[in-house]
């Protein structure tokens, strides 16, 4: 065997595997809240923190978080970015996007969820002028929420 090939072969394929995810009673209730355009949080009676999205148990105290409450739909920007490249599953028409982490009033954590919108985000300089860490935003719902993560259409900048 002395044969030499110029280039080694590369075999290509796509794997598709089934998957199902049990979200449990807490996140079931959380997304039922979305259907009524409500953001639900749970509170830990040990450390007193109110966390969103609602949690089954406190990550620090390990106690059940079974005190439910609806929280404000306005909050303060902790961080944001400007996604300007296409990622797996994304197409050119989906960018740019302005993802945001928001601390809703009355909660004790940041929430990395959804994008800032409601104006032309194609212009980065405009985005950078309007979106500030510490700035205020509020949730804008889609007209007919279905009880899933796409129900908050975008976050709108408020004064």
């Amino acid at each position: 065997m002395t044969e030499q090939y110029e280039k080694s072969r590369v075999l290509k394929g796509v794997l598709r595997v089934p998957y199902e995810m049990a979200v449990g009673p807490v996140w079931t209730r959380f997304f039922e809240g979305f259907k009524q355009k409500k953001i639900l949080a749970t509170k830990c009676n040990e450390c007193g923190r109110t966390l969103v999205p609602a949690r089954p148990f406190c990550p620090r105290c390990f106690k059940p978080m079974d005190e439910w409450m609806e929280v404000a739909q306005e909050g303060t920007i902790i961080s944001w970015s400007y996604v300007n490249y296409t990622y797996f599953g994304m197409t050119q028409d989906m960018i740019p996007q302005v993802p945001v982490s928001v601390k809703l009033d009355g909660t004790d954590c940041g929430w990395l969820f959804g994008n800032i919108g409601g104006f032309d985000v194609n212009n980065f300089d405009l985005v950078n002028a309007k979106v500030k860490v510490g700035g205020r935003i509020k949730a804008v719902w889609r007209n007919e929420p279905e009880g899933n993560m796409l129900d908050i259409d975008h976050w709108e900048i408020i004064k």
């Binding site: 959380f30 970015s81 490249y85 993802p99 940041g110």
Partner: protein
């Protein structure tokens, strides 16, 4: 810390796009190199630790089965450890536990990644809670959010941060040019970095690492074996690992507790009280330039919020008080499962005077580091030339 442990050899592949070889061939390249470096054979090895990204990102399940021959694992105990980006440090620390406990004298550690085979970026979409968090932009988005949080929290001037990030990029790319095994080997200027296309603000194209194929292997030995086999081993002086909550918003990521905790634990074990002065070189895990800045602070190398000033003043550049990532760092090579182990291998090469064109003259004490998860895990391992 248990019994003393030393690094007695390191080996790496040429990193980059490696579709010229199969995945086991790639691992064999690193394994052969480490045995040549240490001057021992597989017969001397008691156990093997292997790590890569999770199966889904590799494209093949249980890849330690697939790699067993290349790992020389036949007839040996084999452990697999993985903690996402920090895998390379976790597998090293797994081996250190093994030797420090006295249960093994010599342990072979191998970390690898063929990022071009699986689709790490695609499968990262499944890391965030896929029901509660709409994931866009993958790892660059998540880490850019952290960078922007840091800038906002400390009220760091955007232009100053951008300039400091560019200096990190220039230094690393210069390092990559000195490193024959690095994936990215190109000269960049500060202006090019600062004006590169935005990927995920504030991160621009030259602020972000490549997707690499590559493997790294390291041999760890007990004191008795190390002294017998190796003229100048690198001794493990201290190590730490810390994790955080899953939800990124649950804690302030500008003052990154898992980095701080891992570093403080390692410094305590190593007897280090003033890391910037005592360390001679640091191999920081820097897939994004802004993260190098945050790590300089959270590793205690400069005060919180002041990394841009220190970088602009050249403190962490070649010839500065504490040169960082003379190998080019993660910014020039990111074969994820190997990356944290490469940091340790480069640190060990530095303190044993074997770093060649990357050598920081007279280096005796070096830090290696890695992060993993979505702003969730940090690991630090300190190596020194003296026991």
């Amino acid at each position: 810390m248990g019994k003393a442990v030393a690094v007695i050899g390191t080996g790496q592949t040429k990193h980059g796009r490696r579709d010229d070889v199969s995945y086991p061939d790639l691992i064999r390249e690193a394994v052969q190199a480490v045995f040549e470096d240490a001057g021992i054979t597989i017969q001397d090895v008691d156990a093997i630790v292997y790590g890569s990204m999770p199966s889904m990102m590799e494209g093949v399940a249980y890849n330690h089965f697939y790699m067993a021959d290349a790992l020389r694992a036949v007839g040996k105990p084999l452990l697999r450890t993985e903690t996402c980006g920090s895998t390379g440090q976790s597998i090293a620390q797994t081996a250190v536990y093994w030797v420090a406990s006295g249960m093994a004298d010599i342990v072979l550690v191998v970390g690898s990644e063929k990022q071009h085979e699986g689709d790490a970026q695609a499968t990262m979409m499944t890391i965030p809670e896929k029901i509660t968090v709409p994931a866009i932009g993958g790892a660059p988005m998540a880490f850019s959010m952290q960078s922007r949080e840091w800038m906002g929290y400390f009220n760091i001037d955007e232009d100053k941060a951008r300039e400091a990030a560019a200096i990190v990029s220039v230094d690393c790319h210069d390092g990559g040019l000195n490193n024959p095994l690095a994936h990215m080997r190109m000269k960049v200027t500060k202006e090019e970095v600062m004006n590169a296309k935005i990927i995920t603000y504030p991160v621009r194209l030259l602020d972000v690492c490549p997707s690499s194929d590559g493997a790294c292997a390291v041999l760890f030995a007990s004191e008795e074996k190390a002294k017998k086999i190796c003229k100048n081993p690198a001794w493990i002086k201290g190590m730490g690992f810390r994790g955080e909550e899953y939800y990124t918003g649950d804690s302030n990521k500008a003052v990154w507790q898992s980095t701080i905790g891992a570093a403080q634990e390692a410094y305590k074990q190593a007897g280090i009280t003033d890391p910037r002065k005592e360390l001679d070189v640091a191999e920081i895990y820097n897939p994004f330039t802004y993260h190098a800045l945050m790590f300089m602070e959270c590793l205690g190398l400069c005060p919180p919020g002041e990394a841009p000033d220190y970088v602009i003043n050249g403190v962490f550049s070649p010839g500065g008080e504490l040169p960082c990532d003379p190998s080019g760092g993660v910014l020039c090579t990111n074969c994820i499962g190997a990356t944290g182990l490469i940091r340790l291998a480069e640190a060990a090469r530095q303190v044993t005077g074997k770093a060649g064109s990357m050598q920081v003259e007279g280096a005796k004490l070096a830090l290696s580091h890695a992060m993993g998860g979505i702003e969730q895990f940090n690991a630090v391992t300190i190596v020194g030339s003296e026991l």
